[in-house]
């Protein structure tokens, strides 16, 4: 290899340095781009072409993206889990104030006051103002049941609306993933490393993980995305849009390609909203209805065996509950006070003794009797309070625990993938020097060539 060979090698070096600076500037430009994984230039030695094996240049083998796919997948899974928990906590938080002991109008306080009013009346069973107070307190119990029931229904409806929103958000991402898949397939067909689309795909997968959990399979036509139950979401360049359909109760179910996947989505916002709507709040609402039904029925049962101040047989204190069917559904929302006058409270047990309080004493004893599902009224309310508090507290501590793992994983991801400004700056200096060195070599060769060319033009011999 002669001077021309050296010149060719040096020109290649110049181009290599330029390419390297391209990579560095791309890295610096994308310092804060989400989903961007840093690029590194992979250089390799040219195969020697000349007679002398020592004389060969270098060329750019590839521009490689440093991406730890295992960590990326773990991050997506944990993102799903964290979002599900924090969404669940938020969706439930509106309900729990109804159960706080600082809430003056809670069911618990209402029932306590109702029994206190009955106790007061027992000391003076004919007192009309005390009878009126009993009805007022019964009204407070009814409205506390109603307002708690309303809070639960409202929270469920809000979660339902969010399910629709999350479905549409997921669809837009699924569509974009399908497009990226298509472009990656084209790049793959021509054997090109398509870093930009890999970045986009990575970013889209993390976004989708925030909305729902999913599974990925690498197949010949790019990435295949399915739900955790295996229902396809994206296959190659086709996205299967999620749809919503109302169920019998008026709540939106989520369908993927005609399959109802509502029960299988656990992660992401969607999973959180579904868990709040279909599990925690649903159970809570049913139990509240049962409690309202049982409480009203227990009071009514005692009331109807007694005699009121006018000597008439007692009639139900609370509406409805419909004891003929025994169906408690909707009882908490529908409960009202049926009596219109305090005189109708059946305090007495016998017609001739309207100042008697023995029936009232039976009603008072309900406070310490198992009236609902083996629980006293206070125990029943206490149980519901624990359930709400525990669901939120568990979701919060899960979110925190997953958050800590996520931070670890993100650190791990960043240390592999994130652009380091220091690294790029020192690379920049290195490539600048390479460029300068290559340029210097060219300049030296140029001088040598001038010397060679001038050899014949001189008056003979060296000057």
């Amino acid at each position: 290899m002669g001077l021309t060979g050296d010149l060719r090698v040096s020109v290649q070096s110049l181009l290599n340095a330029t390419e390297a600076m391209d990579v560095t500037s791309t890295n610096i430009a994308n310092l804060n781009t989400p989903g961007y994984a840093r690029r590194v230039l992979v250089m390799e030695e040219d195969q020697p072409t000349g007679t002398y094996p020592g004389s060969s240049g270098a060329q750019v083998a590839s521009v490689h993206t440093i991406r730890d796919k295992v960590v990326d997948m773990a991050i997506n899974a944990k993102t799903s889990e964290q979002n599900a928990n924090s969404t669940l906590s938020t969706a439930l938080s509106a309900v729990q104030t109804e159960f706080s002991d600082t809430t003056a109008a809670s069911i618990g306080t209402g029932i306590d006051s109702f029994f206190s009013a009955l106790q007061s009346l027992s000391t003076s069973p004919t007192n009309t103002s005390m009878r009126a107070i009993v009805l007022t307190k019964a009204g407070n119990v009814a409205s506390a049941f109603q307002s708690t029931s309303f809070a639960i229904v409202q929270a469920r409806q809000q979660a339902d609306q969010s399910v629709v929103q999350s479905t549409s958000d997921a669809n837009s991402i699924l569509q974009q993933i399908a497009e990226v898949n298509q472009q990656l397939a084209i790049s793959q067909a021509v054997g090109k490393e398509d870093n930009a689309n890999e970045d986009r795909l990575s970013s889209l997968l993390t976004k989708l993980a925030g909305i729902m959990d999913y599974q990925t399979v690498n197949s010949s036509d790019g990435l295949t995305l399915t739900t955790t139950s295996g229902v396809p979401l994206v296959v190659g360049s086709s996205a299967y849009a999620l749809t919503n359909q109302l169920d019998a109760a008026g709540f939106n179910q989520v369908y993927a390609g005609g399959v109802n996947i509502t029960g299988t989505v656990q992660g992401g916002e969607l999973g959180g909203y579904l868990q709040a709507r279909d599990q925690v709040l649903n159970t809570l609402g049913t139990q509240l209805d049962q409690f309202a039904y049982d409480f009203a029925k227990a009071v009514n049962d005692v009331q109807t065996t007694g005699v009121d101040l006018n000597g008439n047989a007692g009639t139900a204190l609370f509406n409805p509950p419909d004891t003929t069917t025994g169906n408690s559904a909707g009882a908490a929302a529908a409960i009202t006070v049926a009596l219109t006058s305090g005189a109708q409270i059946a305090a007495s047990s016998s017609v001739g003794a309207t100042a008697d309080n023995s029936n009232l004493m039976k009603m008072i004893k309900l406070q310490s009797q198992a009236v609902s599902n083996g629980d006293t009224p206070a125990q029943a309310f206490s149980g519901l309070t624990f359930q709400v508090g525990n669901a939120i507290s568990q979701a919060n501590s899960n979110a925190t625990a997953v958050g800590n793992i996520l931070t670890q994983l993100q650190n791990q991801q960043s240390s592999a993938e994130h652009v380091s400004l220091e690294e790029e700056t020192s690379n920049l200096i290195l490539y600048q020097r390479s460029y300068q060195a290559a340029a210097k070599v060219i300049s030296v060769i140029d001088n040598l060539m001038v010397d060679v060319l001038n050899m014949g033009a001189s008056s003979g011999g060296y000057q």
């Binding site: 306590d112 106790q119 000391t123 007192n127 001739g352 309070t385 709400v388 508090g389 939120i392 700056t425």
Partner: protein
């Protein structure tokens, strides 16, 4: 392993956690409570529901005790008047029965006893807070009334029932004693005894006057026994008041332990959290100042 060049995410998480800790501590200090919402401590919030019921119960037992005290005191002082009246009638009967009185004096004594009888009727019909004290649980009108056909007779319209009132967990006291156990007990009817004395005085039958006076003494014993009932009930109520005050304190202590913040701990936690927050903020500010680019000129 390559050093993570992106510490901003870590910084944000750390500062967020420090800020959360400051908020929690400040909230506890300002409200004085560790548990404000069920999710702060689900088990404590649930236990608090039952403690609140117990506390409301004790408050109500205290109120029941007070109102019973008032009723029983009124009944007791009424019976004091009854006893005074009966003693007066017995004195009059003894005077009228000693044989030293002339007819006009006996008539005068008879009309005095007659006055005692109608006063007695009014005492037996005493009401308090809208209900008659001695009618049992009858509520159709005054428990005692003059018989429509025989005006010398007094009828009892009430019944023999007692109302029980709860004054503590599992503890009940009777809030009344029916007139049938005070004034009109079978064999010892106050009104009949008074009427017998009046009739005997009017007819000048000394033997009958003596017998009627003896009957009155028997009736007085019955009334005294009734006074003892009210006295015992009153003592029980006073003892109960003391017990309830202690019980209330015990419940309040338990409630405090469940939901109240330990102020000293909360204050210390606040200081620690503030220190942690300011340290993480300062660290973030320091670290972000350095960059290799600053050193290359």
């Amino acid at each position: 392993m390559r050093v993570n060049p992106d510490f901003s995410a870590d910084m944000v998480t750390l500062m967020g956690q420090a800020q959360q800790a400051v908020q929690t501590a400040a909230m506890q200090l300002s409200t004085g409570r560790r548990v404000n919402l069920p999710s702060d401590d689900p088990a404590a919030a649930a236990a608090m529901v039952e403690e609140n019921t117990l506390a409301a119960g004790v408050d109500q037992f205290q109120s029941n005790t007070t109102s019973l005290q008032d009723t029983l005191n009124t009944a007791n002082s009424t019976l004091n008047s009854v006893v005074t009246l009966m003693q007066k009638a017995i004195t009059l009967g003894t005077e009228g029965g000693n044989g030293a009185m002339n007819t006009s004096n006996l008539t005068a004594i008879a009309s005095e006893v007659s006055g005692i009888k109608s006063e007695m009727l009014s005492l037996a019909n005493t009401s308090y807070a809208g209900s008659y004290l001695f009618g049992g649980t009858y509520n159709g009108g005054p428990p005692y009334s003059v018989n429509a056909t025989d005006s010398t007779k007094v009828d009892y319209n009430g019944n023999n029932h007692q109302n029980m009132v709860q004054i503590s967990t599992g503890l009940y006291v009777a809030s009344n004693l029916p007139g049938s156990q005070i004034f009109s007990q079978t064999g010892s009817n106050v009104f009949d005894s008074l009427q017998a004395l009046i009739s005997a005085l009017q007819s000048g039958n000394y033997t009958a006057v003596g017998a009627a006076t003896t009957n009155l003494s028997t009736s007085l014993n019955v009334v005294s026994a009734a006074q003892a009932f009210y006295g015992e009930a009153s003592t029980e109520l006073s003892n109960n008041e003391t017990y309830l005050a202690q019980e209330k304190l015990t419940i309040t202590t338990r409630q405090d332990a469940l939901v109240s913040a330990d102020m000293a701990t909360a204050a210390t936690t606040l200081t620690q959290a503030q220190t942690a927050l300011s340290a993480s903020v300062q660290a973030a500010a320091k670290i972000t100042q350095f960059n290799l680019l600053d050193y290359i000129r």
